[in-house]
């Protein structure tokens, strides 16, 4: 073979190997594109599923709230009215008992009204977030077992109603967890309205928990509380972080872009 033929063959082989490398690159590029598209479709599908689930839950809560307000509340009001119409003589032995019963029914009506407000979607959407949360914290403080605090920083601007509802439900879930498991004495919620983002923190001084062992535990052992919080945050495109140490309480932080 002549050297010029060998040079030509060498260049040809270089061309072939370059072609192979380019082919691999193109294939990789297309495969990555395909993976991204697949991931996007999967995310969109999950978002839809989550949205549907939450809508169903909200609808159920709405129905329960209406039922409490329109039915049970009405029945109790009627019962209180009936008790008010009973004419009792002074020093009659049952007078004190009837008065006590009227007070108890009054308290039950008030508690049910509060519960109804807490469950009612419309009520939450039409109020400011800080007002809804203050209402929740006040209810908890009334039990006499907790000290609560709500701190608002920045100018409170109305959030998207759906997002506001989701944030409120996340707070409810966090408060439920604190009441059920944390053995806390102090609960504080912070709302921070920044330009372009909204940050909320829920803090307690309870027993805390080992987050690593929570993540490693079985699905059946986990419960749905924290999982629901993560799902809800994901649905509105917010970042959620939970920091907890045994004996040092728990801090839940949600960061939501607003622009």
């Amino acid at each position: 073979m002549q050297p010029h033929i060998i040079i030509a063959l060498t260049l040809f082989m270089l061309l072939v190997t370059s072609f192979v490398v380019v082919f691999i690159f193109i294939h990789r590029h297309q495969y990555n594109k395909h993976l991204i598209e697949k991931e996007e479709i999967k995310n969109a599908y999950q978002q839809e599923i989550l949205k549907a689930q939450l809508e169903m839950k909200e609808q159920t809560l709405h129905t329960i709230a209406q039922e409490i307000h329109d039915n049970i509340g009405q029945v109790l009001s009627l019962a209180k009215l009936n008790l008010n119409t009973i004419l009792l003589e002074e020093n009659f032995p049952a007078t004190q008992k009837v008065t006590n019963t009227k007070e108890l029914i009054g308290k039950a009506i008030q508690d049910l009204r509060n519960l109804s407000k807490s469950l009612n979607t419309d009520h939450i959407i039409h109020k400011k977030l800080s007002e809804s949360l203050k209402f929740e914290l006040d209810m908890i403080q009334k039990t006499g077992m907790y000290m609560t605090n709500l701190k608002v920083e920045g100018t409170e601007e109305p959030l998207d109603p759906q997002k506001q509802l989701i944030i409120f439900r996340i707070v409810q879930e966090a408060l439920q967890n604190i009441i059920k498991h944390a053995k806390a004495q102090y609960i504080s919620i912070g709302l921070n309205y920044l330009p372009g983002s909204f940050i909320m923190s829920i803090k307690d001084d309870g027993t805390g928990f080992d987050l690593a062992s929570y993540h490693n535990s079985d699905v059946s052992e986990k419960g749905t509380g924290i999982g629901n919080m993560y799902h809800r945050a994901k649905l509105m495109g917010a970042d959620i972080s939970i920091k907890s140490q045994i004996g040092k309480g728990t801090l839940t932080r949600i960061s939501l872009p607003t622009k």
Binding site: P3, I6, I7, M13, S18, V21
Partner: protein
């Protein structure tokens, strides 16, 4: 001037690569077959150059040693990165066949000391290029998310470019030297340029390793 630069291209790039490797403390002591390959190339190519330039001693046997050592190191490299059924059998057969062929070639076809062993180079290149294609096939079948961040991909690409492109230079070099063809001096610089391209790919692979 340009030709004299080209004649150093099989020595300077591997030495530069080694310097780059030595600067980074993280990769200095790692067990990396490509690093071993680069060291081998730097040592043997420099030795061949020194022997010829300083003492005028024929250096072809160093190149023959080079391809044997390189083949064994690169076989070990591919053994680590390739995963397919009957891998053990495939590698054993290829290596044993290669060793038998070297002995046969040295005894019957090309002298190990005085001739450039084109047949050995050709066979080694063929087997290594086959390994490279098996690697690509594996990547096509089982794709990883970012192949460009994989140092092995760049190493294999460098090896494929070098051994596939130099294949015809290798298999014809002995017969051309024996025939005293006056154009043969133009071939080795081309080989050196391809060697440089391989080193550039290696450098890219080393950067991937450092950043990943």
């Amino acid at each position: 001037m340009s030709l004299s630069i080209l004649s150093y291209l099989d020595i300077v790039p591997p030495i530069l690569l080694l310097l780059v490797e030595l600067i980074s403390p993280r990769v200095t002591f790692r067990s990396d077959y490509i690093l071993l390959f680069v060291i081998t190339e730097a040592l043997l190519n420099s030795s061949a150059m020194l022997l010829y330039r300083l003492f005028r001693i024929p250096n072809l046997f160093i190149y023959n040693v080079n391809i044997i050592v390189s083949f064994l190191i690169l076989s070990a490299f591919f053994w680590c990165i390739l995963h397919f059924s009957r891998k053990k059998l495939f590698f054993t057969v290829a290596t044993v066949f290669f060793v038998i062929f070297i002995i046969f070639n040295s005894l019957k076809l090309e002298n190990f000391i005085t001739d450039f062993n084109s047949n050995t180079y050709g066979l080694a290149s063929f087997i290594l290029v086959t390994y490279c294609f098996i690697y690509y096939l594996d990547k096509l079948k089982h794709p990883t998310k970012s192949i460009t961040n994989s140092r092995d991909f760049w190493y294999v690409t460098g090896l494929l470019t070098y051994y596939a492109s130099c294949f015809f230079i290798f298999i014809s070099y002995n017969s051309l030297t024996n025939s005293n063809n006056r154009h043969i001096t133009s071939l080795w610089p081309i080989h050196n340029i391809l060697f440089l391209i391989m080193c550039v790919y290696f450098y890219k692979g080393m950067l991937c390793n450092r950043t990943s």
